[in-house]
């Protein structure tokens, strides 16, 4: 009203208060829309996997599940690593407490636990620790298959990191929540968005710990093989043999697992078992110098040197990086033949 009453001269020189208000309003609207766009766009890129879930829920995964039998160990100061690990290990069938794990995973100078230690410790108990792919789909599939998933989150803001291990023990998608065993809370319900935001900063790091007779729901052949080979470094012989047997049941063509399992039998002096496995492997991989060499050695140790010689000569024909070892085996067999046994 005042603006209309203003003299023309004034109106021409400067903008009227009304006009200024209009411009200001436009600018405000523009800024508001801009911020909203950035925020919404930013949100989608803040939690891309949660956004993708809206369009494509992983097939075969129920919308809600809660693994009530996952135990809970409330953490003491800085000890979320041992507490989280004890949770998944106890679910895998071990009876232990977080206190027992402290000296295996906790690093005093860092007042926390490193991922490498979290992966390594279960192996000492003959449990296979498997780092799952960093996808929420895979996490949901593991939980749906009954495997609690240990995750690394960063609960800090901006530059302040606050690394924390928790265990996902269920989810309720219609309610938009993941159910965590976390810190001192037995059933910590976290929105999918918040969870992804904190999980993303660890590059979506997550692992499952399973007894050697079970394969994770999302396991791939090569990754599971690596997990078992790593466990074989320190796990007890029985668990190692079980893990390789489990792997071969799912992926019978796996040559490394066949050789490894045969080697565990060989080491224990169970030569016929080793032979049977290597024969099966040789049928699938008839030109593998590795398989032939080890089969020849196993046969020779059982006194069947003529048969062994034939195999090792075949192995020599194959071009392989193990030529030196094969030649050595051949010499052993020849000298055994010469000495008449």
């Amino acid at each position: 009203m005042t603006s209309r009453a203003a003299p023309a001269a004034v109106r021409n020189r400067t903008k009227s208060p009304y006009q200024m208000l209009k411009m200001h309003k436009g600018a405000r609207l523009f800024t508001g829309a801009f911020i909203l766009a950035i925020t919404l766009g930013g949100c989608a890129s803040l939690v891309p996997q949660t956004m993708a879930l809206r369009d494509a829920w992983p097939a075969g995964v129920p919308p809600r599940i809660e693994l009530a039998d996952v135990p809970f160990f409330p953490q003491t100061e800085f000890q979320c690593g041992p507490a989280a690990l004890a949770t998944t290990l106890a679910h895998a069938g071990l009876s232990l407490t977080p206190e027992q794990l402290v000296e295996q995973v906790y690093l005093p100078a860092r007042q926390g636990s490193l991922q490498a230690d979290m992966l390594a410790a279960p192996r000492r108990y003959g449990v296979v620790s498997y780092p799952i792919a960093g996808r929420i789909d895979d996490l949901l599939r593991e939980v749906a298959a009954g495997n609690p998933v240990l995750v690394l989150q960063d609960n800090g803001v901006a530059l302040f990191s606050n690394w924390h291990y928790a265990v996902v023990a269920g989810f309720d998608y219609p309610a938009g929540e993941l159910l965590l065993r976390s810190g001192e809370t037995r059933r910590h319900a976290v929105p999918f968005t918040v969870f992804e935001y904190t999980w993303k900063k660890s590059a979506y790091w997550a692992m499952v710990t399973l007894p050697p007779d079970r394969i994770p729901a999302t396991a791939t052949e090569s990754a599971y093989l690596s997990a078992v080979v790593a466990m074989a470094r320190v796990g007890d012989a029985k668990a190692v043999a079980t893990a390789y047997t489990t792997l071969l049941k799912r992926w019978p063509d796996n040559i490394t697992a066949s050789i490894a399992l045969a080697n565990t039998h060989y080491e224990r002096g169970e030569l016929p078992d080793a032979e049977a496995l290597l024969r099966k492997a040789a049928a699938r991989h008839p030109d593998s110098a590795l398989v032939l060499n080890n089969l020849a050695q196993t046969l020779s140790d059982q006194g069947r040197n003529t048969e062994a010689l034939k195999l090792v000569e075949h192995a020599l024909r194959a071009d392989s990086p193990f030529a030196a070892a094969v030649r050595e085996t051949r010499e052993t067999i020849l000298s055994r033949l010469a000495s008449g046994k």
Binding site: C80, G81, A120, W163, T193, T256
Partner: protein
């Protein structure tokens, strides 16, 4: 500096002797680790690197408050890749501890975020 080098050498030798019985007892059977590597020359190099990395990680663990036995037992249970991921970076890598004060800020920060939970 000299002492560190000596320390490292000691660690390498200790681990090397630990590995010795496995290798000599299994001269004729080709082992699992070998089965996984491509060429034997490369395998030797990989084995040496692994040995050095392990020794270094053990001494780093020791300098961070673990005693020697605990440190070597931990490193023994790690794969070569895992050890490699630790070498020289133990201080920088995330160490999960607890969800303390920052969580409070987070809650405030995320109140608007709760509007759409999924």
């Amino acid at each position: 500096m000299k002492l560190t080098l000596k320390n490292l050498l000691c660690q390498v030798l200790v681990i090397a002797t630990m590995m010795l019985p496995f290798q000599s007892g299994q001269a004729a059977m080709i082992g699992t680790d070998q089965a996984n590597t491509v060429a034997s020359a490369q395998a030797d190099r990989v084995a040496l690197t692994s040995l050095l990395n392990r020794a270094e990680t053990i001494s780093q663990f020791q300098s961070m408050g673990l005693d020697a036995t605990l440190a070597s037992a931990r490193v023994a249970a790690m794969s070569d890749t895992e050890v490699q991921s630790l070498v020289g970076k133990i201080n920088a890598l995330p160490a999960g501890a607890d969800s303390g004060l920052a969580l409070l800020i987070l809650v405030v920060f995320f109140i608007w975020f709760f509007a759409f939970r999924r």
